[in-house]
């Protein structure tokens, strides 16, 4: 973070340069830095820079005289920096790819360990080649480029509810725990250094403040390492949020302690007043960071209110505002990490209500991509830096540090839990405490902070760095590798994979109101009361300002319902037409089954649906068809500023995967279908409309596909022909959309195998079941919805018309 870097300009390079090259180098670096921030740190391969200087000078000289025009010219230095960056990123990505190709490796060794090993190898190779290892883990690069994506990813997708429910515990661990760790490690380390009178080693010269500084660097749990390891062990939500939350929130403590000790290490004395100022500074740093983040978050939310006409740049606002929040916080020496977390958490609910579904997916994927690349790079760089780093190995210092870190962590967690458990409703068990203590991994932040230290001011910088690296390696390798077996051995509760069901959501809301109500009856203003007040305020004022249109009035439950509905619609579209022929799954629970009316009345209502005049139905069908056609044509014209959703095109790319997935999907599909048959509230956002229309289209084709699937022999090549047919912009092609027959075939085959019946004339059963399902809903649906249903689900009579073009 700049605050940390401010006093010492990038120390990794520029030291050994000849005088004359220095100026040009600085200019070059600045230039590169401004164009591509990564360039500032990762390129400076000193010898190369020197070369480039000479090279350029030579160029200038040559230009004066006439020379044969070079047909082919090599100018590596022109592209060196971005090229090297790309190489690093490529290496990182390939490594990540590679690990998952080796079958059992990734289940035994965590990825982070493997990446460090790769980094070590790469560093070794560079050294062997005689090149100078680039100072890849330079603090500027790390804090300004590599760290923010990871933290933003964490902040944006922070599970707010569990976080807020445990915020007290998290803060306790993050603040008190970290301070305790810092002083315990620092103090005892100093004592150990002084304790050996017989061996007046260099350790004697370490001052107490230096030890404390070292303690404060080494004591903070690292979010990057924690994320990398905890994502693989799938621990339950409570433990995950405790350790992870701690690693995020201790940033403020680390910043303050670091600055405090760096500041006073020079002076040598600390007064009570200084300590007091430190506490104040902590509050300012932490709360200031949160405030800055919240302000930018609100700004981002407000901006996203107006993006409905330029959907393509929507995701950008999220990234840019967050990055600016981080930078602004760093500018004032506030906690950048906390600013990012606050920014992401504040903006998310509002932004998500405003932006389109596509943008949401984009944000999700970009964040995940950036953060995983950053994470990979960080671990590789850690390995490279280890090979490179100036080491000074001191057995006493290193072993004592490792042991003290472990002891301090255990004592800290156990002690704090003892206090916290007095206030907690869900107590932390011994197992939980163990995992929290064991999950306290150290990582690259500590290394970067150590790297920042000034060699002149801290004579033991090298030793510190070595010790830091050892502790990091110890925690990442030993603890990171053993935590998974331990979690299984201790039978710690795992995360439930099941996605949230609507019933759970209803009852979560119900419970909130119930508890608030009970508190109100008792006249006791507890947590729920204030939470309710906050929600009310949010709904009444904040949402109105930050969310465009009707969605601002949408209660959480309805929003959840819509989201779920849309997800299912999209899954349905993406997985092809085969998804859910009513007939494909012979025994389904449908609306009819839960409808309070008994079957007879339902049947009657069913009849009512087809009563729509046949002529009218034809008309609707025609409209729908022409609309579809137009959509396809419009899609063909490429427009940079509007990205029209095309579920079919999405579908083609992962056709093969889909085919595989089809089998697994079958079960899911069953449920999906149920939802789809439920009448929905009027569509309120364009995306919703589109998704629903898409799903409607899909169902529309079913009869045709079905027929095709049944009549045509299942053709394994069917899907490969698809792209060809797709290019014909006629509606019929759509209907025969490749994945659909394919999937239908799969389904049919299954069913055939199961039932071993003659399915030659499949038409009848599907008609019967689909027909009877629909009518049940019909009475509950309003006119508009009925129309939609009608469009999406042709009655028996319509089937014949639709089928005709497709008959072979």
């Amino acid at each position: 973070m700049p605050s940390r870097t401010c006093s010492h300009s990038p120390s990794g390079f520029g030291k050994s340069l000849p005088e004359q090259g220095l100026l040009l180098l600085v200019v070059l670096v600045l230039l590169e830095g401004s164009v591509l921030p990564l360039g500032a740190a990762s390129s400076p391969d000193v010898s190369h820079q020197d070369d480039s200087h000479n090279h350029k000078v030579a160029d200038h000289g040559v230009n004066a005289t006439k020379k044969v025009f070079p047909v082919l010219d090599v100018d590596y230095h022109h592209i060196q920096t971005p090229f090297e960056i790309s190489l690093w990123v490529l290496l990182a990505s390939l490594m990540k790819l590679g690990f998952h190709l080796i079958p059992r490796l990734s289940s035994i060794v965590p990825e982070s360990c493997l990446l460090i090993v790769v980094g070590l190898l790469v560093g070794g190779l560079i050294k062997l080649a005689g090149e100078q290892v680039p100072p890849v883990l330079d603090s500027r690069l790390f804090f300004l480029c590599l760290l923010p994506p990871i933290i933003l990813d964490a902040g944006y997708f922070l599970p707010i509810r569990p976080f807020m429910e445990n915020v007290g515990t998290i803060l306790m661990f993050a603040v008190v725990g970290t301070v305790w760790n810092a002083f315990f490690v620092g103090g005892l380390l100093y004592a150990v250094c002084q304790i050996q009178p017989a061996n007046p080693s260099s350790l004697h010269s370490i001052e107490l403040l230096h030890c404390l500084l070292f303690g404060s660097i080494i004591s903070a749990v690292d979010p990057v390492a924690v994320l990398a390891v905890f994502e693989e062990i799938h621990i339950n939500e409570l433990l995950h949020i405790l350790v992870f939350g701690e690693s995020l929130l201790n940033d403020a403590v680390t910043v303050v302690l670091y600055h405090l000790f760096v500041e006073y290490a020079g002076v040598g004395t600390v007064t009570v007043m200084d300590g007091f100022l430190g506490v104040i500074s902590f509050l300012v740093v932490a709360l200031g960071g949160v405030l800055v983040g919240a302000i930018y978050g609100i700004l981002a939310a407000f901006t996203s209110r107006f993006t409905s006409h330029t959907r393509v740049i929507e995701p950008l606002f999220v990234f840019v505002y967050s990055y600016m929040a981080y930078l602004s916080a760093e500018m004032f020496h506030l906690s950048g990490i906390m600013a990012l977390i606050a920014c992401g958490a504040v903006m998310r609910p509002y932004v998500e209500a405003n932006i389109s579904h596509k943008s949401h997916t984009t944000i999700k994927y970009f964040l995940k991509m950036w953060s995983s690349v950053s994470e990979t790079l960080i671990f590789i760089f850690l390995g490279v830096a280890t090979v490179d780093g100036p080491h000074s190995w001191n057995w006493t210092f290193v072993t004592v540090t490792v042991i003290l870190c472990l002891v301090a962590r255990v004592i800290g967690v156990v002690g704090l839990t003892y206090i916290i458990n007095k206030f907690r409703i869900v107590k932390l068990t011994t197992k939980d405490q163990f995992i929290v203590a064991y999950g306290g991994l150290r990582g690259a932040i500590a290394f970067s902070l150590g790297f920042l230290l000034d060699q002149n001011q801290f004579a033991h910088r090298k030793m510190f760095l070595t010790a830091i690296i050892t502790v990091i390696f110890f925690t990442v390798f030993v603890q990171g590798m053993t935590i998974k077996p331990l979690v299984e051995l201790l039978a710690v509760k795992k995360k439930q994979e099941a996605k949230r069901s609507i019933n759970e959501e209803i009852h979560t809301q119900f419970l909130d109101h119930l508890l608030t109500g009970i508190e109100d009856i008792c006249g006791h203003y507890g947590h729920h009361h204030w939470k309710d007040k906050l929600n009310r305020f949010n709904k009444k004022y904040v949402k109105k300002c930050l969310i465009a249109g009707e969605r601002s009035k949408e209660p959480q439950l309805i929003a959840f319902y819509h989201k779920m509905e849309m997800k299912q619609a999209i899954e349905l579209v993406e997985s092809g037409g085969g998804v859910k022929l009513p007939s494909a799954v012979p025994s389904t629970v449908s609306m009819q089954n839960i409808q309070p009316k008994k079957p007879p009345p339902a049947k009657a209502a069913e009849r009512a649906l087809p009563q729509l005049p046949k002529g009218r139905e034809e008309e609707i069908r025609k409209i729908l068809r022409s609309n579809l056609q137009r959509t396809r044509q419009r899609l063909r014209s490429y427009n940079r500023h509007t990205l029209v959703a095309d579920p079919y095109e999405d579908g083609f790319s992962d056709l093969l995967i889909k085919k595989q997935k089809m089998i697994e999907l079958e079960k899911k599909i069953k449920e999906m279908n149920n939802y789809l048959t439920v009448p929905a509230a009027p569509p309120d956002s364009p995306t919703m409309c589109r998704a629903r229309l898409a799903s409607g289209r899909d169902t529309d084709f079913k009869p045709a596909q079905q027929q095709k699937g049944n009549k045509i022999c299942p053709d394994p090549q069917a899907y490969s022909m698809k792209p060809v047919s797709d290019s014909v912009p006629v509606i019929q092609v759509d209907l025969a959309s490749p994945q659909s027959p394919d999937s239908v075939n799969v389904m049919d085959e299954f069913r055939r195998a199961n039932q071993e019946e003659d399915q030659g004339l499949m038409m009848k059963p599907p008609q019967g079941s689909s027909g009877s399902n629909k009518p049940g809903e019909a009475d509950t649906t309003r006119d508009q919805q009925r129309l939609m249903r009608c469009l999406s689900d042709p009655g028996p009579s319509a089937d014949e018309d639709e089928d005709e073009p497709f008959l072979p």
């Binding site: 439930q496 109100d520 009856i521 006249g523 507890g526 439950l557 509905e565 509230a681």
Partner: protein, 243 residues
């Protein structure tokens, strides 16, 4: 407002126990939460032992009864969408652990405590079995809130009504969506519990077993609790089951 009365008012208590009193000054409704196992026993005892005027005042409150109107007049409740159901739960005899059905006209301190006992959190010492019982009790409480006609199932009608109430503060959108949501939720229950159903079958409604099944993931036993300041919740027991 929450008052804590030290044990000095209760000289017969040897252990340093606290008595917690919840006073809603706005409505002058007073309820108490006591670290006492048997409410009846306490009531009898206290008649003889309580001596100071404060205690007589407390006695007065303890013996008074409250009707629905009293609860409905609590201003803080006015904004609660499920106000009717909450109040209903206090007057529901099914929540008194006595196998009775129907509802009270008015409730006293004892009934209140019984209802409140559903909001106890589990402790570290709670065994797995006790947890299970606790969870069942809490779920039963919720189930009873939905199952208004006490026929053992939550029918679609009842569920719709519950969701409508839940969304009753969000205007027209809420009412429109409520039915759809309830239907979707019902479908979900039906399809998770009875995956194979012929088109002509009829799912009557959510039974308690199914209700348990769908809310398995919510960890009701620890989530459904009320945190009272200054109360050592571990000693908060009430109800006849322990007597």
């Amino acid at each position: 407002m929450l008052l804590v009365i030290e044990h000095k008012f209760f000289p017969f208590k040897k252990k340093r126990e606290q008595m917690c009193m919840a006073v809603n000054l706005e409505t002058e409704i007073l309820f108490m939460l006591l670290p006492i196992n048997n409410v009846q026993q306490f009531l009898n005892l206290s008649k003889h032992v309580l001596y100071c005027s404060v205690c007589f005042m407390i006695m007065d409150f303890l013996l008074s009864h409250y009707s629905r109107e009293n609860l409905e007049n609590i201003p803080a409740l006015a904004n609660n969408p499920i106000r009717r159901q909450i109040i209903g739960a206090f007057f529901d005899k099914r929540n008194q652990h006595q196998n009775e059905v129907g509802s009270f006209e008015e409730i006293g301190f004892e009934q209140f405590l019984m209802v409140m006992s559903h909001f106890r959190p589990p402790t570290l010492k709670t065994t797995e079995e006790e947890r299970e019982t606790m969870r069942k009790e809490k779920l039963r409480f919720l189930f009873n809130m939905h199952d208004t006609d006490n026929d053992g199932t939550i029918t679609l009608e009842e569920y719709r009504k519950a969701v409508e109430e839940l969304l009753s503060k969000s205007g027209a959108i809420g009412q429109e969506a409520a039915k759809a949501i309830a239907d979707a939720a019902m479908l979900e229950v039906a399809s998770t519990n009875v995956p194979h159903m012929a088109p002509d079958d009829f799912y009557e409604g959510i039974t308690f077993e199914h209700f348990e099944q769908i809310l398995k993931g919510l960890e009701m036993e620890s989530r459904m609790h009320i945190r009272f300041l200054d109360v050592d919740t571990t000693t908060m027991h009430c109800g006849r089951s322990t007597s």
